[in-house]
Homo-oligomer: 178 residues x 2
């Protein structure tokens, strides 16, 4: 499938999760057998097994994309989770939301020093969650090969924020607006 | 990898999430490139593309396993999520917890009538979550081919509960105790 065909499988839901937000819903793409296969192949075809030893995915949609990409590449999968969801000892990183803060965690020992890591998530907006996830990967001394997003909302500046700290950013589809 | 080798990659964490519970942590298996590949191949090798059109995975660990299996089979992926996480119109099903109730949801339109569905989750204990997810699949008129669990705790009776309603249950690894 072409990028335009994949893009057409994304459903736009107005006023979700709140008035004025146009939510980009990838579940309509994920459920499509050829769409899902093309999507995961688009991610995995950029990265050989020799170049990526683990894929990190951010809870929860990043689990879907990251795990399928990890298997396609032949890499391991590492979950980055919300507070209190990982059973073992963790590294934690807070990040700012519009109101208040949130926190992501990574298991101690999930990533070894100098391991080559691909970060995958469904969407980059302001880049706050990805920024915190990348800090966790760096604290674990992993080497981040690329941060891959299926959807990018360029106006919200997430790419600039990650590139400013030296991260290689790639997105498959962009949508204008918030 | 053999089943015993996969089993040895599961970490057991005492007293999590509360005293007296021995938690079976699959993140140590997921992060292992060969272990993760063998695990997903064990799921996907049971199901040809012609026999399964979508894999349903239960939030959140079921997303990791179900999505990778869906890609390996060539099927679409359908998320079964906790309350309020799906942006579109949903079917919802409540189930009992030790104290209180919880709820899972499925998008309307995620599954079409007579579609062949594989349900994947990391663990079956009492089977309450899986039972609710299966009810959602049946309400959507999907045909459940199999409910696949990486880990089964046989003493908690989940298999009997699902088999009593005619579901084909398969697990890869069993652990005694709760």
């Amino acid at each position: 499938m072409t990028k335009d065909e994949l893009r057409a499988l994304v459903r736009s839901i107005p006023d979700y999760p709140k008035p004025g937000i146009l939510f980009r819903d990838i579940t309509t793409l994920l459920k499509h057998p050829d769409g899902f296969r093309s999507l995961i192949d688009a991610i995995s075809s950029r990265h050989a097994r020799s170049a990526v030893s683990k894929v990190a995915g951010v809870e929860a949609r990043g689990f879907i994309l990251g795990a399928a990409a990890a298997h396609a590449i032949g890499a391991g999968f590492v979950p980055v989770r919300k507070t209190g969801k990982l059973p073992g000892e963790t590294l934690a990183e807070e990040y700012d939301l519009e109101y208040g803060t949130d926190r992501v965690e990574l298991h101690v020992g999930a990533i070894e020093a100098r391991e080559r890591i691909l970060l995958v998530d469904d969407l980059i907006a302001t880049g706050g969650t990805a920024d915190a996830a990348i800090t966790l990967i760096e604290r674990a001394e992993g080497h981040l090969v690329e941060a891959y997003f299926v959807i990018e909302l360029p106006e919200l500046g997430g790419r600039r924020r990650l590139e400013a700290r030296g991260v290689q950013v790639h997105s498959l589809i962009t949508f204008d607006g918030h």
